[in-house]
Subunit: 468 residues, 2 copies
């Protein structure tokens, strides 16, 4: 057991919290989305929360932690869904929310500290020069930019730009290593893959440089169809209209909107309406409405025509993982999937799954650019019955050419491609020789021989040892 | 013969020119690109040039012309390639170059008069709020926005936005009709198709509202490959990188760059280098160079690293129809084609044509977005031998699934899809009952029974009557 009294002494002058209730609070994220993770991670908690205000303070913390062999798990706002920010072996939660300054804004790019909330970052770049991030998660109002880079993948705007993994969507990351003498590294271009979506297992991000796109007063629009597949086809057709500037296209199947979007429910005709959640540039609205009319879409809601937006959430807060959240909040009997429908026949794949599962798996799609081509991924809801049936639903998707990303796992590998990311592993060897950064999240580090094909979940031994 | 003395009297107070040499000058465009059009249109000239300064003046001119039954052919800067702006039946050339004011600039859109030169429009929107047109022809330094809308199709930036015909790429056109009492109509959304690329045959555009994109200090880059197909594959791969912001990708086959781009020649290693002409956003340069390196591309030229840009033209002035212009200026033995290579196998189609024709048809491609998909069109040069061989080359393209748009015709139909545009024809019936606007350019108007499949060129009878 590390000597925390001594550690606190060595961290004097920094914001350190050891009240167990508060520490426990900051040791949590949205892991409870998954009934499986909820069970596995329930007891996880850290020993201390340290909230640095600068790169220098981050370096100080890592130096002390390294000397004492104490794990450090970085944390933005804790909105991740897979326990990414949860300290499986206890130790220090490095809370970065106070490192929240915008440093520089230029045409096409911004330099900021990692702990700034994404919506606040967008507010500042918009006020400065009419710019905003290319895309953001639907949690923009609470999530941090550092947490997005380290734990997210894409979001509102990915319909143009693809995801964080795509070359050019992050310009530079400044990273502090976990060594006796922490180093500060600036990573660009291909090197960014070392730490992007690595859950903070191989470096603490202390500065981000992100590309910007023009900011517009995006108009929130809901378009209704009586048939979910008509909504999907409309979304697909719209996504292929070069001249219409659209930031978000998310078809969501009835009865989800009617049942779980209470603020928008008054705008729906009835419970059988599927909707397409949209964000459209104001200067594309004329052309958009002409297009929607020709496609026989019913425009149910326009934020630029509604009397008051008071109490009505942003359209994007109906989409991405907010769809799931809204359903779950009302009915805990839901769980969800993360599905890819590779193009060019993505619409046909969606149609097949929709026919197969009907209301057991209400559809929810997100159109995104993938290698320069439009396709869709999905976050369909699942009316949960048994674990076996859930497995079966996933297998049927895979059998039909729709890969599944499992949202019920806390490791990088199991949540993703079920294979070792050799670049990230090699970088961890360089930057975190003692394996103290966010332990238990990279199987390749802890158990290089783990057999993914055996069909068993990885259980991090340190998890039982520390919290359990 | 109209009474021009009387007409001039009725136009008193307006800028009217009747000096035959000057009138003849303003009755020409870049029709001489085509040996065929050069012969056919050589003698065409107007009787008067009138240069209105306002919508009111345009209305006055049209009213007088209508009363006297005099044809009116609008003119921007006369940079069209197909005699679009040439007054086949004489009459009045309506020169719009003095209607050149920017009226309003907003986030994402600009309202301007039609005669403003495109580069000047971009200069003003950039200075105002860091914005510029979504795309422009390579003639931006001389061409007008009105002429582009009425006679052009796409250009630099079409890699993102597609072409002018795509819904949303023009927001509004204000048009004056050719009637006893000219009307002023504001067209939006689908209605824009009535006058876009109609050569001014059914209304005079007196105001345009265009969408804007963010303006960056685009970096001109030339990348070299020893094999043209490697250059094409590089261009295609780059066009599919979501995260890299690129405004122009044009592969051009050796030895064209070495032989005809004298200012860039010093940067080429030798005559066998094919190049890719690029414009890259400054904040995408790091990622771009990392990508180019991995693709084994040789970066020959970067405008942000060159000692002085003095005397070096914009990269886009090597591309689009400037490629052709540069070769033609030195060697009049060239002519060219306009080819489409429909995707998704566009690269394979290019490869097949390249193998078939070799140096007889040196390749030149432009990557553009087409219905939401990346594909390429081409403006390959042709080392002209005989008319039969030219026809054969075109036929071989068609036989291989590569449609040809014939640049050697002055009518809307023959230069395009060889079919009647019923929307434009119907609108002409409304707006130009006497058929006085730019006569001879719309076959459907002059000769509804013309048989496109008969393989004969249309010869406008009025052409012989007036000029010939
Ligand atoms: C309702 C809902 C909707 C969501 N929608 C989306 C979506 O649209 N797209 C999407 O991608 N995700 C989405 N998410 C997941 C999550 O909200 C986002 O990825 C978010 O950007 C995470 O930011 P955060 O600040 O909360 O990060 P946290 O959850 O605090 O951290 C995420 C990961 O990054 C690490 N980390 C945090 N800061 C740093 C740092 N400075 N250096 C190194 N590592 C660090 C943490 O250790 C953790 O592993 C959603 C989640 C919910 C609950
Ligand atoms: C070297 C070279 C490169 C080129 N590159 C491109 C390119 O990249 N993309 C492209 O699309 N084109 C290209 N072109 C063709 C041409 O330059 C463009 O289409 C240009 O925008 C035409 O503008 P303009 O002002 O010169 O029009 P003009 O040639 O003067 O007119 C074009 C047509 O529009 C009509 N017109 C003009 N003004 C009005 C008005 N106010 N109301 C109604 N009708 C009107 C004219 O009657 C005529 O039919 C190129 C030409 C050359 C010579």
């Amino acid at each position: 057991m590390p000597d925390y009294a001594q550690i606190k002494k060595e961290l004097e002058g920094l914001a350190v919290e050891d009240n167990p209730a508060l520490v426990r609070q900051k040791s949590r994220d949205f892991y409870w989305y998954s009934p499986i993770l909820k069970e596995e991670l329930e007891s996880v908690t850290a020993d201390l929360v340290v909230s640095p205000k600068s790169e220098e303070e981050v370096i100080r913390v890592l130096k002390v932690a390294y000397a004492h062999g104490v794990p450090v798990t970085p944390r933005g706002a804790g909105t991740g869904n897979y326990g990414q920010a949860m300290p499986l072996s206890g130790g220090i939660v490095l809370n970065l929310i106070n490192m929240n300054k915008v440093k520089e804004i230029h045409p096409g790019r911004v330099i900021a500290e990692p702990g700034i909330v994404i919506a606040e970052l967008d507010r500042q770049t918009k006020a400065h020069s009419g710019q905003e991030l290319r895309f953001h998660p639907s949690t923009a109002q609470t999530a941090t930019i550092g947490g997005f880079v380290a734990g997210g993948s894409g979001g509102v705007g990915s319909i143009h730009w693809g995801g964080l993994r795509d070359l050019g969507n992050i310009l530079r990351l400044r990273v502090v290593t976990m060594e006796a003498e922490p180093r500060v590294l600036d990573l660009t271009a291909w090197d960014l893959q070392k730490v992007t979506h690595a859950y903070g297992t191989n470096g603490i991000i202390v500065e981000v440089e992100m590309p910007l796109a023009p900011a517009y007063d995006w108009v929130d629009v809901l378009v209704g169809y009586d048939d979910f597949m008509d909504a999907v086809r409309f979304g697909d057709a719209l996504a292929h209209k070069n001249g219409l500037l659209v930031k978000e296209i998310a078809p969501i199947a009835a009865p989800i909107p009617y049942d779980y979007f209470p603020r928008h429910k008054p705008f729906l005709r009835d419970r059988n309406q599927s909707i397409v959640v949209l964000m459209i540039a104001p200067h594309s609205m004329d052309a958009f409405t002409a297009f929607a009319e020709r496609q026989k879409g019913e425009i149910l809601f326009r934020s630029d025509k509604v009397e008051s937006m008071k109490g009505i959430p942003h359209a994007y807060e109906l989409a991405w993982n907010h769809t799931t959240l809204r359903a779950l909040k009302v009915d805990p009997g839901f769980t969800y999937l993360q599905v890819q429908y590779p193009g060019p026949d993505h619409v046909a794949k969606v149609e097949k799954m929709t026919k197969l599962f009907g209301d057991e798996v209400p559809g929810h799609l997100e159109f995104i650019k993938f290698d320069g081509r439009m396709q869709c991924s999905g976050l369909p809801l699942v009316r949960y019955t048994t674990r076996e049936r859930l497995e079966e639903i996933m297998q049927i998707h895979r059998d039909n050419g729709c890969p599944i990303f499992n949202p019920h796992r806390y490791t990088l590998e199991e949540g993703g491609m079920k294979q070792t990311d050799t670049v990230q592993l090699a970088f961890k060897k360089e930057t975190d020789p003692k394996g103290l950064l966010n332990p238990g999240k990279m199987i390749a580090w802890d158990n290089p021989d783990f057999d993914f094909s055996a069909g068993k979940n990885y259980l991090f031994p340190g998890l039982a040892a520390a919290g359990g």
